[in-house]
Amino acid sequence: MNVVAVRAEGISKCFRLGAAVQGRLTETLWHALGRPVRSLRGNGTPRREFLWALKDVSFEIYEGEVVGFIGRNGAGKSTLLKILSRITEPTEGSFDVRGRVGSLIEVGSGFHPDLTGRENAYLYGSVLGMRKRDVQRKFDEIVSFAEVERFIDTPVKRYSSGMYMRLAFAVAAHLEPEILMVDEVLSVGDFTFQKKCLARMEQVATDGRTVLFVSHNTAAVSSLCRRAYLLDKGRIVAAGAARDVVGQYVAANQAAQFIPIVERQDRRGDGSVRVTGLRIENAAGGSISSSSRLKLTLDYESASPLTDARFQVTIHDAEYHPLFLLDTDVEGGLPDVVPARGTLMCVTDPIRLTPGMCGLMVGVHQRGTLADGVEFAGVFDVEPDGFFGGRMPLRSEAVAVLHHKWALGEPDDAS
């Protein structure tokens, strides 16, 4: 049943920067009055700046497909979703969406701080397209999903930001549209809640609903989606199986690692801690090869000493499959309080990885919330070596190797 659920044909979106079309009426008047003067001076009309947030984007998504859109900040992912959910109109092109759409661009937009959790749940539910009786029916489920039972009749302005987001997501998660469009909203709240959200998303995806999932969390895209599009500067630059597209995205981003981490702007988290340096090397010196132990050095700084801090570094392969997680939240990890700035060092066991590219992703959490996060914080190449005295398999054959022994047994061994 290959029925097209979403079709986009040559969608482009242009924003004009700094022009006086909108804004105050007087600005518009001044602009009009000033025109003859400017043309006398010979500069003509001022140079206008246009921003093509999307350029000629076309695709088709079939019913029941779960499709990811990935790309860096500013690639046009969010604009695309806003167009498809009719929040904004494309400058050019056309689109067709068949089915009841639920779109989550930003969780909790529509919440009013003075209303209680209960009142907001109903209001937000209706804004997202749920019927009052649907909200009624699922209300208990929503409240327990959000873990706000005790505060449901408290105005949400008294909620912690975590509770606020949990309630908002809980309402959204119980939306049952035919086509679900999700923008980066899985990443709210703390660890356990995120896990819950992801599980919920997976459930929606396996329910046979059409899902458009926008993210730069490539791990989530490759686990949730079968197909993906890669956007860059407003264009689709790659399309295909999610795994392949994610791989291309990672490869394209390897250029980013040449920017020192301290200068990287595309960070996430609340910024209370900053990772200012990240180096990975062979603990024994020289280039990294399959039998190397890795030595990781991480510099960080913050305004005040860190309490309950957790540093994590993920080592992933070129297709963004996580391989190892180096986590300070282990026995003998970090003390409860660490100084405001410092350097962490970590030495691993031999990695036993097959030759190929690996990437690093770093995240710092403080008291369960993300303080700083950088993707593609570094890459390294694993070179082949005579680790187990044989031909080193290719990355496509195996990701890791292990020591093993073979023996030749007797065919009719009586035992």
Binding site: L51, S94, Q265
Partner: protein
């Protein structure tokens, strides 16, 4: 669990500098709906309207001491002011009706209109999130702002009936026809003004300053504190171009038996109200499509 997990994508868009091409004007859209379809959609989203009205009602008087009494206190205070200034100082005649009643009967529909101006205008801008982060028919936002005022209107109308009982005044049966139809005229005018100004304010924030001023200005151009009898006969039609002039005069006449608005004045008002309504919806519809980009 990956180390990166939080925050939203704050799109720092790529900037294309020095590109002088105008954005092309040819737009082909399947997503765009026709007049009828878009009002059908407003109907489909009626529950949102209900919850928005409910929200506006709750939010307006939450964390206030006097609560909903404010709905009544405002016109009552104006009435007292008019009694002191207009009746006592200026000695304006009130056609034999007790002046407080004369003024309050006018303040009931006037309140609906003037509040539509001051509360309707900023409604869309205040609900920015409902415009730029989620899709609901935007028309619901100013409608919800005016919808709340209808509740205020009913409360003040009840107070008016109470006052009439105190003064032992009873309307005749014709009021049963007049009051609903004049209320409809007031509502059409109020919705028109609220919808129009709310869209205009998305484009031009000047409206924020203009709306309360306009409300004050029109208060003097409407026979709230005085009778339209004071307006020379030949100016009545022009005077009736303000639909609220007929509404206010009609309200008073239907309930208190003062002289009714001239037929021509009433006709002018109805025509203007309908034109205003059509123009407001047309303008709103036109700028609705760029709301999210401009707001």
């Amino acid at each position: 669990m990956t180390p990166l997990s939080s925050a939203t994508d704050n799109s720092l868009a790529q900037i294309v500098r020095g590109d002088d091409r105008q954005p092309p004007s040819s737009t082909r859209l399947h997503g765009r709906k026709g007049w009828i379809a878009s009002y059908q959609e407003v109907w489909e989203y009626r529950e949102v309207l209900y919850f928005l009205v409910l929200r506006n009602l709750k939010v307006r008087y939450r964390q206030t001491i006097l609560g909903a009494a404010w709905a009544v206190l405002q016109p009552l205070a104006l009435m007292v002011l008019f009694v002191l200034v207009v009746e006592k100082l200026l000695a304006v005649r009130s056609e034999g009706v007790p002046y407080p009643l004369f003024a309050f009967a006018a303040l009931v529909p006037w309140g609906l209109f003037s509040q539509s101006l001051t509360l309707g205008a900023p409604s869309v801008v205040q609900d920015m999130n409902l415009v730029s982060k989620v899709y609901v028919p935007r028309l619901l936002i100013p409608l919800a702002a005016v919808g709340v005022l209808l509740v205020d209107f009913l409360i003040t109308l009840a107070i008016l009936f109470g006052m009439m009982a105190l003064y032992s005044t009873a309307p005749d049966l014709a009021a049963l026809v007049w009051i609903p139809s004049l209320t409809l005229l007031a509502l059409v005018t109020s919705v028109a003004v609220g919808v129009w100004l709310s869209a205009l304010m998305v484009m031009y924030r000047d409206v924020r300053a203009v709306a309360p001023f306009l409300a004050q200005f029109l208060l003097f151009l409407t026979p709230v504190a005085y009778s339209s009898n004071l307006v020379p006969e030949r100016w009545r039609v022009i005077y009736g171009l303000n639909p609220m002039a007929s509404v206010v005069e009609g309200f008073r006449s239907a309930l208190l038996g003062t002289s009714p608005p001239a037929g021509r004045m009433l006709a002018a008002s109805a025509v203007v109200a309908i034109l205003l309504f059509g123009a407001a919806l047309t303008y709103f519809r036109r700028v609705d499509r760029i709301f999210a980009d401009v707001i």
